[in-house]
Amino acid sequence: MRYNRQIILPEVGEKGQEKLGKAKVLIIGAGGLGAAILPYLAAAGIGEIGIIDDDSIEISNLQRQVIYKNDAIGKSKALEAKEMALSLNPSIQVNAITDTLNAKNAIPLFEYYDIMVDATDNLHTKYLINDACVVTNKPFVYGSIYKFQGQVSVFNYQNGPTYRCLFPDESSNSKNCVDAGVMGISVGIIGMFQANEVLKMVLGIGNVLSGELLIYNMLNNDQQKFDLVKTNTIVLSRLDFEKKYNVVENTVLEITANEALEQMENPDVLFLDVRNEEELPKMSLPNAIQIPLSELEENLDQLDSNKTILVYCQSGMRSKKAVEILKKHQFLKVQSIAGGALKLQGIIATDAVSVS
């Protein structure tokens, strides 16, 4: 009964409904696009839906992320989204993943699901999704917004073109929604296009938007398609992928004590001590500030995000945690000093580095 109105379509039928029920779809991001995609896939009877997002609901999300209620502010997006989808259709399975998509969890997740849906708001994650799809040989439905324009495509579908065939340049800097502004309707329209591609792929009907980029203009209803061909034919092995992402992330996040001390006189560098005040040895570095790790999140306004922030604690564990916190709050140039104060002190003592 629940699916009767779609089953009577010859393009769907009982067989099609069975396909929907067996499909496993992962929605990456529970923001504006995700909030549009999820209820329609759930209602149509996609058998298993994963939704991954580590964000909490904020009041400024509600004008476009319409599945969240006002009294859910502060709660986890992934968990609230799951609850909403199950209240809509309790006969499906919904998996909430309260994490960001990263190089470590992407491959196992993508191996499990059949189709990934990109509902993210940043380019870095789009390249990550693309590369993990190439490694696992899975398609992904791309959707993205710039103000009143939206882009939609399906990448890596049956060995078709990938995101890198369309945008090879990874260093590009398109504004995201927070910077550029967006209407709820716009993410809704593009999310609908994406959900439609998912259903077409599962049902095997129509023409999947593979090898084509759709651009939709909400202000004048202009709709254009551009053809693209597969140009990036580099076979990415799982090992290549892990090298590319994990290694890069690790080296960026840590700096040796020696390298850190070379930056001591650099006015663009700030040393951040996240130990408690009573901890020894006391360090007297120039351009330094002390904020215990437990108080860091409440005192971010004391830090200048334009500076490179080198974080240290006693031995280098808490400072890694601090780097994660700072990254989460958009501090881009942050590194943890390996070995912490003990290592720094050791070098200063033996090499007689002058400390003013």
Binding site: G34, A119, Y146, Q151, L166, F167, S172, N176, Q224, F226
Partner: protein, 78 residues
């Protein structure tokens, strides 16, 4: 007349959605160089389509009258 269409952040810079240019005997790369200078597009990243098809090799692509060129930046919002 050659027709050029702008999208996303590129259109933001050009302040127009598109324009017609009286240009002939020009490679795609030469057109792009001209537009980059005219609109200060160097800081932006975009792909290029001619007659609704993505073009990779801009140097060897000679434009013809009535071609429609599109500058397509990636979007990131969601």
């Amino acid at each position: 007349m050659l027709s050029v269409k702008y999208f996303g952040a590129v259109a933001e810079k050009t302040k127009v959605q598109g324009e017609n240019l009286p240009i002939s005997n020009l490679s795609l790369q030469e057109l792009v160089d001209e537009l980059e200078q005219k609109y200060d597009l160097a800081s932006l990243s975009y792909s290029i389509a001619v007659n609704q098809k993505l073009v990779q090799d801009k140097n060897s692509y000679m434009l013809m009258t009535n071609d429609v060129v599109a500058l397509l930046p990636p979007f990131a919002g969601g």
